[in-house]
């Protein structure tokens, strides 16, 4: 099983779906951000698997770039959180209605 591409893709798909589900249903903004990271995990796994099985470095490179993007996303997201806590102290996405305060 470990020698087949689709087993990795399957795990990646599950992780991606779970992440997407989390983004959809969770109310707490930080869990939404964590779910996005979970989606990226699924994608990373698929990309790595593609790269390994197609003997190509493109997937690995994309994983590296997605790591960078995940870091950037986390940093900006958490900075927004800090700003949120300073201004409205509210972390439920369905209660955050104004784009500007």
């Amino acid at each position: 099983m470990a020698d087949y591409l689709n087993s990795y893709l399957f795990i990646g798909a599950i992780l991606f779906t779970l992440g997407a589900f989390g983004v959809l249903v969770r109310r707490n903004i930080i869990v939404v951000l964590l779910s996005v990271e979970l989606m990226l995990q699924g994608v990373n796994l698929s990309l790595g698997a593609f790269s390994t099985f197609y003997h190509d470095m493109g997937g690995y490179m994309l994983v590296l770039l997605s790591l960078a993007i995940a870091a950037a996303e986390a940093v900006v997201g958490l900075a927004i959180l800090v700003a949120l806590s300073r201004h409205v102290d509210e972390f439920y996405v369905d209660r955050l209605k104004s784009l500007r305060w």
């Binding site: 470990a2 087949y4 591409l5 990795y8 893709l9 399957f10 795990i11 798909a13 599950i14 992780l15 779906t17 779970l18 992440g19 997407a20 589900f21 989390g22 959809l24 249903v25 969770r26 109310r27 707490n28 930080i30 869990v31 951000l33 964590l34 779910s35 990271e37 979970l38 995990q41 796994l45 698929s46 790595g48 790269s51 390994t52 099985f53 197609y54 003997h55 190509d56 470095m57 493109g58 690995y60 490179m61 590296l64 770039l65 790591l67 960078a68 993007i69 995940a70 870091a71 996303e73 940093v75 900075a79 959180l81 800090v82 700003a83 201004h87 409205v88 972390f91 369905d94 305060w101």
Partner: protein, 211 residues
């Protein structure tokens, strides 16, 4: 052996992924995401990309999720016990949509048989071991065909750090003073320039007069 490992890692990753999404406390969510990261790293090792696995752990587990935990502790983002942690209606929409996505993705994944010889790239395992490992392969690719994305990623990180700095910076107190009405109108629960802060701005001698 490796089949077993793959199944086990995948299973555990799924379980912890479920934990990330379903656990009530954000801290528990974050910690199960750490476990997902470990298991995905394990899968990377299984497919022979130890370099990626190490990077995965260093960047995700060592930096990003610690940052999440750090923020959670800093801001006390504890979920209130009496509040539902999922959307009331979106939840029922989420299950079918998530299920549909899973079926779709699984279908695509299962449709992927192993690639035929014609589609293979130039970094075969033999060539990689000749270069010295995955790390060398990645370096080889990164500084030749993927140089531009690599540089762009650097710029992106710089932009992100600048953005984070400017977002998380303390609001400028002069602005707060100049526009007190706007500040207090915007949100009732908002932190106003409190008495303590304004006291700190005084010169030491002025503060000394309190005694």
């Amino acid at each position: 052996m490796s089949d077993l490992a793959c199944t086990w890692l995948g299973l555990m990753a799924t379980i912890f992924g479920l934990g990330t999404v379903l656990l009530r406390s954000p801290v528990h969510s974050a910690l199960s995401l750490v476990m997902v990261v470990f298991h995905v790293a394990g899968l990377f090792v299984l497919m022979g990309a130890g370099f990626l696995a190490a990077l995965q752990v260093i960047v995700y587990a060592g930096a990003i999720i610690v940052l999440f935990l750090f923020t959670m502790m800093l801001l006390n983002l504890e979920q209130h016990d009496n509040e539902p942690h999922m959307h009331r209606y979106q939840k029922w929409l989420g299950f079918p949509l998530g299920g549909a996505l899973l079926i779709e993705a699984t279908w695509i994944a299962l449709a992927q048989a192993n690639p035929s010889e014609t589609l293979l790239g130039k970094y075969s395992p033999e060539r990689l071991s000749e270069l010295g490992g995955t790390a060398f392969g990645i370096a080889d690719a990164m500084f030749t065909s993927y140089l531009l994305p690599f540089e762009v990623a650097g710029v992106l990180l710089l932009a992100a750090s600048v953005a984070a700095l400017s977002l998380a910076r303390k609001p400028d107190e002069d602005i707060m003073k100049a526009m007190p009405d706007m500040v207090s109108d915007a949100a009732g629960s908002m932190t106003q320039p409190s008495v303590q802060e304004s006291k700190l701005n005084q010169s030491p001698t002025e503060r000394g007069d309190n005694h």
